[in-house]
Each structure stands twice: as structure tokens, then as C-alpha cells.
């Protein structure tokens, strides 16, 4: 029997409550909690919306519009997190002129909680990234980049735990291999570690040691490499790990119309999502929680 139901949004959404959750639900029906995860990736300094003449993305995107949307979602559910999966920098003159200052200041105004680091965030060198850190009122996570021998040491944590409405949310970061993608002069002594092994460690630490209710991987590895299936990607991380609930990805500018549901190493479902690039979309994942341990193998509905 499948561990979780998949129900397409268009079909009967009334079959929601998994049978397994029933006993606890009837025990304390008012205790359902909702955590909303909002996310962007590869915004690439796209602060202004695309103009009406743009050949591909006419009238789309824009930070000021995203701010309106995020604010309205937060008003509806204060237990909302806003995350970014890297490549904040590079792509418009805003970056060339201000080196990422405006990007970080605006993300702070939008109250981003956590971001990870993409390859283009090294485009002004690791010193250029470090110089902008004072403008970021949010935290950076990366578990597989070791910044010990760089200026970024202590400014990036492997993971961040945030508690919202009593729900413990663990977020860890993964970055792509820099060698061959970014000039060594730029990333300097940043050391890259195998994302799969790190993800296995992180999910164990967050789930078992820290007892997180929700484990999120913020990744800049890329969604999936069809022509190079052995290359580490969000899909390979999803399949090779356990206890990750959601992987938010970037790098490949993949426009997923809805999150992908992948099976992890023990056959449980993992959501993998990515919203293309340039701030054209906002990803939104709502997690509903019931108190107590999952008592049945049939407890969770996924509606995408």
C-alpha cells in the first residue's frame, strides 16, 4: 500500500484526510497547524519586471510585486517562511553597478528567512559576496561548502532551525561543484564536499538529533541531468536520502509547473520543486501538521 496518497488538484480534493490520521484528528481536531514555505531561485538580479516588449517574459516578474504577494500570504498565515535557492546575483546592471547590495537589501525588506549560495553569487569573488553580507538580514546555509579558510567563515551555517507555531523546521543548504564552473580566483579556498553524503548526514542530524518536524533542503545543485544521470542533482539527492520532506532547487532554471514527487531511499515521498528563474514565479508549499507521531503508514495526502 502506498505510504501517501497523491491527489491531483483537479480531482476529488475532499478525500483529503488520510485514514490513518483519523484517530488523532478526532482526538484533538483543533490542533492542525499549517506552515507555508514560499521560495524563489535564480532571481539573477531581476529587480524590475520585464518590459511589455520583452520577447519571452513580457510584464512578468518584479520584486515590488513579489513583495505584495508575500505580504498577502503572510497575512493569511503568519507561520510562513520565505527561502531562496541561490544565484541571487548577476543578470542585470543592478548587479554590475551595486555588486548585489540592492538584491540583499530588498530580500531583507521582503523578510527572507534563509538562502543558499549559487555559483553566480561568487561572480564578484568571495570577497564581493562577503562585502554584501552586512546588507542581508537573513541567513545563509550551505552544508557542503566549507568556508573555514575564507572570509565567509562563520557567515554561512550548515543548517538553520526555525520554530513556527511550535513546529520545528530544519533547513540545510547544498551547493554545486565549483571547480570548472567558477574561477578558482573567485571562490578561493572554498572546499566542496559530496552533496549526497552531506545530505545524508544533515537529514539524520535534523530529524534524529534535533527532532525537526519538517526537513527542507535548499539546493543549488540543479533539478536533474538527463544526459548525465550520475551528476548529482536534486533528484539524485531525493532518491539517495531519507527524512527530507522538501527539496527546493535552483541552477538549472527549471520551470516546474508543480512540485515533483520522488521516492526516497526508504520509499517515502519527497517533494522537489523549482520555479525557473528571474523572479517570474513564487513557489508555495503548505504543510499541515497533526500532533503526535505518525501512527499509520497512510497518513499524508499530497495535493499538487
Amino acid at each position: 500500500m502506498k505510504r501517501r496518497h497523491f491527489i491531483q488538484k483537479s480531482t476529488a480534493a475532499t478525500v483529503l484526510a488520510g485514514v490513518g490520521g483519523l484517530s488523532l484528528q478526532s482526538f484533538s481536531p483543533s490542533k492542525t497547524k499549517k506552515i507555508t514555505i514560499l521560495h524563489t531561485n535564480d532571481v539573477h538580479s531581476h529587480i524590475d519586471p520585464f518590459g511589455p516588449e520583452d520577447g519571452r517574459n513580457a510584464n512578468k516578474g518584479g520584486v515590488a510585486r513579489r513583495a505584495t504577494l508575500v505580504e498577502s500570504i503572510r497575512k493569511e498565515n503568519p507561520n510562513t517562511l520565505l527561502l531562496d535557492a541561490g544565484d541571487i546575483f548577476q543578470g542585470t546592471p543592478y548587479f554590475n553597478y551595486y555588486g548585489g547590495e540592492l538584491e540583499f537589501k530588498l530580500m531583507s525588506m521582503l523578510k527572507y528567512d534563509v538562502a543558499t549560495i549559487g555559483n553566480h553569487d561568487f561572480d564578484n569573488g568571495i570577497d564581493g559576496l562577503y562585502a554584501q553580507i552586512p546588507h542581508a538580514d537573513f541567513e545563509f546555509v550551505s552544508a557542503n561548502y566549507d568556508f573555514t579558510n575564507t572570509v565567509m567563515d562563520t557567515h554561512v551555517k550548515p543548517y538553520k532551525i526555525i520554530i513556527k507555531d511550535g513546529i520545528k523546521i530544519g533547513i540545510f543548504g547544498l551547493g554545486i561543484q565549483l571547480d570548472g564552473l567558477v574561477n578558482k580566483e573567485m571562490y578561493k579556498e572554498t572546499v566542496y564536499h559530496n552533496p549526497i553524503e552531506i545530505a545524508q548526514d544533515m537529514s539524520r542530524i535534523l530529524k534524529e538529533e534535533q527532532s525537526c518536524d519538517l526537513v527542507i533542503c535548499l539546493s543549488h545543485l540543479g533539478y536533474n541531468y538527463k544526459n548525465n544521470p550520475n551528476k548529482v542533482s536534486d533528484i539524485t539527492v531525493a532518491r539517495a536520502t531519507k527524512d527530507i520532506d522538501l527539496i527546493i532547487g535552483g541552477h538549472t532554471h527549471t520551470f516546474l509547473p508543480k512540485p515533483t514527487i520522488e521516492k526516497n531511499s526508504v520509499g517515502k515521498n519527497v517533494l522537489v520543486n523549482q520555479v525557473g528563474c528571474f523572479g517570474l514565479y513564487l513557489g508555495k508549499i503548505d504543510f499541515y501538521f497533526q500532533p503526535g507521531k505518525e501512527v499509520s503508514s497512510d497518513g499524508t495526502s499530497i495535493i499538487v
Binding site: L16, Y94, N96, L256, P291, I303
Partner: protein, 252 residues
């Protein structure tokens, strides 16, 4: 119900309330950011002065183009490509010379690296951003003559107008074989060291340019190609690039 029962119930409730939560339902969707959303005024106001400064700077006029130049203007060399390669040579050589007391022999770029046309009319900073939106910067590679020969072979086979500066002359016969290849008017000497300016992308093997390895040394100038163009354009009232005979194929 006895006190004992109530106590039991309390303990039971406590266990449930202390136990961690589990996910009962997940809903995921993608929301469009488009003009149906009203921009938040506070954010707009914050961006405005940055935008105004950039636009003012980007639109400042630094030169003039009497014609429109595109990278499809010629088969083996183009006016716009010659302009760019010559700019890389002339702007980078003083920097390189000051650091090493050596001179650059010539510059090579790639045809695909010309990202936009230069339109007839005023040249602005924005023009340089359009032609070179990427952050690539100049590197100078010390190469043996044998590697330069490999480069000539590459150029003869690529059959594209990869920009080279005017110090290099490469003439192909009608079968695309190398007829003559000279640097500063002299044949390529296999044992001589040549200093070739290019960008970091091509140095890393971009566009199949594998001839930069092995080499006799690498000099990173930390000088962006875009800044090369801006500095070069600012020196001229009018850009007059021309297609010439630096890289040609003979027809008979």
C-alpha cells in the same frame, strides 16, 4: 470515572501533546508574478533612486557609430569583431606591459561572444552592456609557437569569424588550408613564446579552444571585457571599425 481514570487520561493527553507533530497534508503550487499584482509602494520607492542612477549612467553618450555593425557582416572577419579584438589588445597591453615588461602579441575572442549588434547612432555605456553582458575578463596566456599553430588550425577549421586583433594575419586557400599565418608580419616561430590576450572563458576551453593548454604562463589582468569596450569607446568621438584582410579565405 474515578480520580485514577482522570489522572490516566491526563497522562495520556500529556504524552500526545509532548510528542512531535507529523505531516498530515501537503499542498504545493506555483504562483505567477505578473501585472495582476500591485507593486508594493515601499519597495518601489526604495528601488527608484538606484534605477535612476543606473539609467542616467547607462544612457550617457560615450561615442558615435556612423553605421550599424553586426557579427554576420563577414565570413572570416567583421568590423564589430575587429573592433572588439583590437580594443582588447590596445586597452590590455599597457596594463600587461606595466606588470611584466612584455608586450601582448595579439588578441583572440570568439564569434559567439559578440552578444549584440552596435546600432547606428549614439554609443552609450548600455551599448557595451548589450555587446558584452557577461563578466568575462582579460587573461594573457604565454604560448609556444606550436600552440599558435594549433590555434591557426582551429581557426581554419572553425570557419567562423572569430575576432582576432590586427597583429595576426591568417590567409586560407580556397580549400580552407592555411596559406600564410603571420604575427607582426613574421611567420610563426615554433620555439618563440607568444603572449596572447583572450578572455577567461576561452582560456578554460570555451568554444572548443583547447590550444591554451599546455601553456608557458597565465596572467590574469582582472579587467572585464565590458570595461575594455567602455574605455576604448570613450577614447573615440566616432567608431570607424572596418572589415579588412586580417583573416580571410581566398576564393581562387
Amino acid at each position: 470515572m474515578t480520580i485514577k481514570h482522570i489522572l490516566k487520561l491526563c497522562v495520556l493527553l500529556l504524552i500526545f501533546s509532548c510528542a512531535s507533530s507529523h505531516i498530515s497534508k501537503i499542498e504545493g503550487k506555483r504562483i505567477d508574478i505578473d501585472n495582476s499584482l500591485k507593486p508594493q509602494q515601499e519597495i518601489e520607492n526604495f528601488i527608484a533612486p538606484y534605477r535612476a542612477h543606473i539609467n542616467k549612467n547607462m544612457d550617457s553618450i560615450i561615442s558615435y557609430a556612423p553605421q550599424t555593425y553586426t557579427k554576420s557582416d563577414g565570413s572570416y572577419n567583421t568590423a564589430i569583431g575587429n573592433l572588439m579584438a583590437d580594443a582588447v589588445f590596445s586597452e590590455s597591453n599597457p596594463v600587461f606591459h606595466q606588470r611584466t615588461q612584455q608586450n601582448i602579441d595579439f588578441a583572440i575572442l570568439n564569434h559567439g561572444g559578440i552578444r549584440s549588434i552596435i546600432s547606428k547612432g549614439n554609443i552609450t555605456i548600455r551599448t557595451a552592456f548589450e555587446v558584452m553582458p557577461f563578466e568575462n575578463s582579460v587573461v594573457v596566456v604565454a604560448l609556444k609557437g606550436t600552440q599558435i599553430q594549433d590555434m591557426m588550425t582551429y581557426l581554419s577549421k572553425a570557419k567562423r569569424a572569430h575576432p582576432v586583433s590586427h597583429q595576426l594575419q591568417l590567409i586560407l586557400d580556397k580549400n580552407s588550408n592555411i596559406k600564410t599565418a603571420t604575427v607582426h608580419g613574421k611567420p610563426i616561430d615554433d620555439n618563440k613564446i607568444y603572449y596572447v590576450a583572450t578572455n577567461d572563458y576561452l582560456y578554460s576551453g570555451g568554444d572548443g579552444m583547447t590550444f591554451f593548454h599546455p601553456n608557458e604562463g597565465l596572467y590574469v589582468l582582472n579587467y572585464k571585457i565590458r570595461d575594455v569596450l567602455i574605455d576604448n569607446f570613450k577614447k573615440k568621438d566616432t567608431l570607424n571599425p572596418i572589415r579588412d584582410r586580417r583573416f580571410i579565405k581566398l576564393e581562387d
